[in-house]
Amino acid sequence: MAVWDPRIEEMPKADIAKMQYKLLKSLVYRLYSFSPFYHDRMKEQNVHPDDIRELADVKKLPFMFKRDLRDNYPDRIFTATQDELVRYHVSSGTTGKPTVVGYTEKDLDLWTTSLARGLTSIGLGRGDVIQVSYGYGLFTGGLGLHYGAERIGATVLPTSVGNTERQIELMQDLGATAIACTPSYLLHMGEVAERMGVSIQKDTRLRTGILGAEPWTEKMRVRIEDWLGIKAYDIYGTSELSGPMFTECCEQNGFHVWSDLALVEIIDPKTEEPLEPGESGEVTITVLQKEALPMIRYRIGDIAVMDDGVCACGRTNPRIHRIQGRVDDMLIIRGINVFPSQVEHALMTIPEVGQHFQIVVERKGALDDMLVRVELKKESFSDKITDLMKTRQNVEHRLRNSLNVNAEVELVEPGSLPRFEGKSKKVVDKRSL
């Protein structure tokens, strides 16, 4: 099977370490010299670029968190000026403030390269028709996959999300061979196709799914593959790393993290000490070549295991196995990250309801359904049903605006929601993935 960039993808382990050390060293020098944010951070941590003498010294560097982006909204930690940027993407933040990611031309090129390697590693290339059913726009999924697919010479069918029946017609008529979307959306498409009398297995050319942006399991992979007659591959990323970045290869055994682009550490979230390959911990990534928004030791918050062995496909770059969970209470609803703190923040702006809430997530059919239960305040109780319905619609509207995902709202009696019982009671996740 073809390899897009054999020099990197099949580089001997010892050379990888040398390459990464060089990239890290120059990154740290650059940031220490030119970025007030990183300069101060390194001073606080009492570390100087000269202290980085081998790759393992990365652990001397300070961590970065999503809150660093939020606190520096919109672009205060960018290390490129606006005229050097060619694009912005924006994702929802944890407390109402979004996070902004900027890209230079080189940043877009390396993002696209990363996906070109991944798509090639699952056997896609010239002659394929790749339907991109991730959202296009501020979200990174659509445009990211779009450029990656074009780079490998495939034909892109940029359907974005929604209008599922039309998506299925186009999949049939234009002979899509691969689709990139969330696993739950693909299951939903399968159901809609059946209602239309279309069997994805028999009536389309679809053979490959590139699925991500939400957690899924091996059980779901088996279900998708058996039912739809395709091979389903995991794809991983987050906007802070550029967007969707890393895919599984033909072996379907964890996604390869390209060593020239990213240095992965798995750390113990409590002690913050690096863990050995094979141990489960928090994925922490240093983006080695990003110009506009470099990320050093970025704590993504996902829990996973790293495999540093050579893959059966021949690639030497390390793999991360399927994400097992989160270190925080982030939920992923229809591919969109939702933090309970965002719900809390939105509710605080609505005088009719209290600040206590409960989120109930279910998967109805193939898609996620989020219900937010809120307490109606005593003084906003109206005897008129229409007034109460208006209050509920108002809450739904506010949540939709701040979460970018639909939530159904249920008004409940004051004092009826659990209090002081920790975060776990605020979220009831009934999905079995």
Binding site: K378, F381, K384, I385, E413, P414, S416
Partner: protein, 144 residues
């Protein structure tokens, strides 16, 4: 005219739509020896409003509030109907002819005849119109 004597204090209780809520309300009222003269439940998706005419509205209010219920008083009016076929029509026609818009309504028929309970938006205006039409409004003192 003193319209106030026709304004009846209805209690309205916000209730989640789940088993046992009505029982909880009724039990509380029973314990306080509050008698329910008429009541209705209006339901929406996921919640409802229980509306009741009781003999001791303040007592009912305080008890339910102490139990954490979201409760409010609402002014309603009560019109006497003939307890026979066509009785509701007579009253409904009067309301319609007088351009009185009903927000909601419920009725009961007891030993003293049939009563239509109404929630209207322009209550004083409605009282005048109803009286002018010859229909009989029932005073608050009859209930509590």
């Amino acid at each position: 005219m003193d319209a106030k004597k026709y304004l009846i204090k209805q209690i309205s209780i916000f209730s989640e739509n789940r088993p046992g809520r009505l029982a909880a309300i009724a039990h509380a009222l029973g314990e306080e020896k509050v008698n329910i003269l008429a009541f209705s439940i209006a339901e929406a998706n996921g919640f409802g409003v229980v509306r009741a005419l009781v003999d001791h509205p303040q007592k009912a209010h305080d008890k339910l509030q102490s139990l954490g219920f979201n409760i409010a008083f609402t002014d309603v009016i009560a019109v006497k109907m003939k307890d026979q076929p066509g009785g509701l029509y007579d009253i409904a026609k009067i309301l319609g002819d007088s351009s009185i818009n009903i927000e909601y309504s419920y009725a009961y028929s007891g030993k003293d005849g049939a009563i239509l309970i109404l929630r209207v938006d322009q209550v004083e205006d409605a009282i005048q119109k109803i009286q002018k039409s010859g229909a009989t409004l029932i005073e608050r003192s009859v209930f509590h």
